[in-house]
């Protein structure tokens, strides 16, 4: 037999390729099980027929989408008419999530700035303190929030006792209560990426700006915000997306008036009134919109950095 193969390089690269497969294999399995399969299932279910008392029949149909978009369906005799109920819920959810994101940004940016400009030894402590409330389950935190802001709760009692107001503010069951709940649920997702960006910020840039005749606010607007922008955008995405699909805060703090997509989807999978294909269709539409927004953003980023 021939001793050594002449093509040493190709042999080693074949070995290398085999290793790579073995190395990335597990991550593909995980992505497959936890990401791809659920997404595919959702999409597939949205095209199936509703079974009475939950579940599906394996008969393909567009009924779920028809229900979402059209009042008088595509398949009737009369011309189709748009169904505004669900689009309205969608719009309200986007608006609520955007408000909560803005609230998180306005509070989260100064917080992140404060932490990142502390002594390095103190930073870990501050970050730790930010995350402490998140050791408690989201449901319990949201219920506590409800307890805090309801008309007979401690917040209103305090305000009335100190004489700042003489009647309860009536915070509960309002849009603002929902935004407050979302803000409280997702604040760390805003603080942490901004903190990471500010920590990397080179403060001599602020000195250079001051040297070149710009005051504090001009420096913030023209130098600091553009440089830490990736952190701000990451924070906004991380808060906006879960807020859009949230159902705990709207259910517990918002009451019936502030019904959001998350609750709509949740309802379709609960009990006998549920409609799995419809729930899947709403989820699919939501995912599609988020993906589209993220893609447009990624495109814009890619172009800019060139």
């Amino acid at each position: 037999m021939a001793a050594a193969a002449p093509g040493g390089a190709s042999t080693s690269s074949r070995i290398y390729r085999g290793n790579v497969l073995r190395l990335i294999g597990p991550s593909w399995v995980i992505i497959g099980i936890f990401l791809l399969i659920p997404v595919i299932l959702t999409v597939v279910y949205s095209f199936l027929t509703k079974e009475f008392r939950g579940g599906v029949q394996w008969t393909p149909t567009l009924a779920a989408y028809d229900q979402f978009f059209f009042d008088r369906g595509l398949f009737g005799d009369e011309p189709p008419r748009i169904e505004w109920t669900y689009l309205g819920i969608f719009w309200r959810s986007v608006w609520q999530a955007a408000s909560a994101t803005l609230l998180c940004l306005v509070i989260g940016f100064p917080t992140a700035w404060f932490i990142a400009t502390r002594d390095p030894r103190q930073r870990a402590t501050w970050l730790f303190m930010i995350t402490i409330p998140y050791w408690v389950n989201l449901l319990i935190r949201t219920v506590s929030m409800k307890f805090l802001i309801r008309d007979e709760g401690p917040l209103n009692s305090l305000l009335m006792w100190t004489g700042i107001t003489d009647a309860p503010l009536g915070l509960i069951n309002t849009n603002f209560a929902v935004q407050l709940g979302l803000f409280y649920s997702y604040l760390p997702f805003m603080v942490l990426p901004i903190y990471a960006a500010v920590e990397r910020y080179d403060f001599s840039l602020s000195e250079a700006a001051a040297d070149l005749y710009s005051g504090m606010w001009t420096t913030l607007r023209l130098v600091i915000l553009p440089t830490v922008r990736p952190g701000i955008i990451a924070g906004c995405i991380l808060v906006f997306i879960p807020s859009l699909g949230a159902f705990l805060a709207p259910d517990l703090l918002g009451g019936a008036k502030t019904f959001m997509i998350g609750s709509l989807i949740e309802e379709q999978f609960k009990g006998a009134a549920g409609n799995w294909p419809f729930g899947s269709a709403v989820a699919t539409i939501l995912m599609t919109i988020i993906m589209a927004v993220l893609l447009v953003y990624a495109r814009a980023q890619g172009k800019e950095s060139k």
Partner: protein, 357 residues
């Protein structure tokens, strides 16, 4: 009353960081059209002083005046002073042109004026073709020139430069040196230039302040600093020199009579605060000549010869075992001594100088 010819006057400025004193009462004056250099070893407080002038740090004591006006309470963005930072500090998200226009726009110039000015200073630093790049796409030397252009663009009254040439290679450094010097002459504004490179300081400056450990050791023209250093630190820091311990017999009218090792008595210039007793004289290596053993002011034994191309260095030991270095021009005709040979050393007239310890 302010002297119209003085751009910056620094009056007994002290800067402390906690218990550490970075500046021990600095007093300096910089002329309105002067190329003034702060020269000193790393950590002596050059950047600290520059930052105090720019307004980034408060001074603990003392006063800084800009054209007669005390600027203690003026924040950096209100001082008509621009800085070229040691580490550039260019805005990474802006193009070269946007970086350069930044200052002028903040001062309220129109966009077209600022653009025209940006083009002007870009060609001054020879970066015309890089106008639309981002700082991240430039080499270190190019970034440094952008930093220079950015600081010059808003026409400051004083330009502060913190080691602006340190990232350039030798050729470029020499070219930019000459450019900076002529730039200063053209603009007619005061430059305060920080460096720890003595050659840079000697070739560019109108005047130099030599600093060490938070104190100004000497202020003078390059020639004064080099030829008439007042103390041991300055003589040692600027150029090569031999510091020889001598017995000082008499000091008067800036002249001293000293006893050299080996017993010869010689006259030499004396720094103003030198006094009789034991002292040190500075002997520049290029101002010493070789001669036969008995004929010299000093006697020594040759230890080694070092070939430097244009020059040859002769390392020798004095009788008291101190080392002495001479520089001999490599003229072809000279007869070099052999290693181990006893030689005489003649001190050229006025080559020796008595220093303050």
């Amino acid at each position: 009353m302010a002297d119209a010819g003085t751009a910056i006057s620094i009056d007994r400025v002290v800067k402390r960081y906690g218990s550490f004193t970075a500046l021990h009462g600095i007093t300096l004056e910089v002329g309105a059209d002067e190329f003034f250099t702060l020269l000193g070893p790393s950590g002596c407080g050059k950047t600290t002083l520059l930052r105090a002038i720019a307004g980034f740090d408060d001074v603990t004591e003392g006063e800084i005046r800009l054209y007669g006006q005390n600027i203690a309470n003026l924040p950096p963005h209100k001082r008509p002073v621009n800085t070229v930072f040691q580490h550039y500090a260019l805005f990474p998200h802006m193009t070269v042109t946007e970086n350069i226009m930044f200052g002028a726009l903040r001062l309220g110039w129109s966009r077209s004026d600022a653009e025209a000015r940006a083009r002007e200073v870009l060609s001054l630093v020879r970066l015309d073709s890089f106008a639309d790049r981002k700082p991240g796409q430039l080499s270190g030397g190019q970034q440094q020139r952008v930093a220079l252009a950015r600081a010059l663009a808003p026409r400051p009254k004083v330009l502060l430069l913190d080691e602006p040439l340190s990232a350039l290679d030798l050729k470029l450094r020499q070219a930019v040196r000459a450019e900076l010097k002529s730039l200063q002459r053209e603009t007619g504004i005061a430059f305060v230039f920080v460096t720890h490179d003595q050659e840079e300081a000697l070739t560019m400056s109108d005047r130099i302040a030599v600093m060490s450990a938070g104190r100004v050791q000497q202020v003078g023209t390059p020639r004064e600093i080099y030829e008439a250093p007042t103390n041991r630190f300055v003589a040692d820091f600027i150029g090569e020199t031999n510091l020889i311990e001598v017995e000082v017999k008499r000091v008067s009218d800036g002249r001293a009579e000293v006893v050299l090792p080996g017993g010869h008595i010689t006259q030499c210039a004396a720094a103003s605060q030198s006094h009789a007793g034991t002292g040190h004289i500075s002997l520049r290596p290029e101002r010493l000549t070789l001669c036969p053993a008995e004929a010299g002011d000093l006697g020594a034994r040759v230890e080694s010869l070092i070939y430097l191309g244009t020059d040859i260095q002769v390392w020798a030991r004095l009788p008291d075992n101190e080392r002495l270095i001479l520089r001999v021009q490599n003229a072809g005709s000279i007869a070099l001594p052999a290693v181990g040979q006893e030689i005489g050393i003649k001190i050229e007239a006025d080559a020796a100088r008595l220093l303050v310890d």
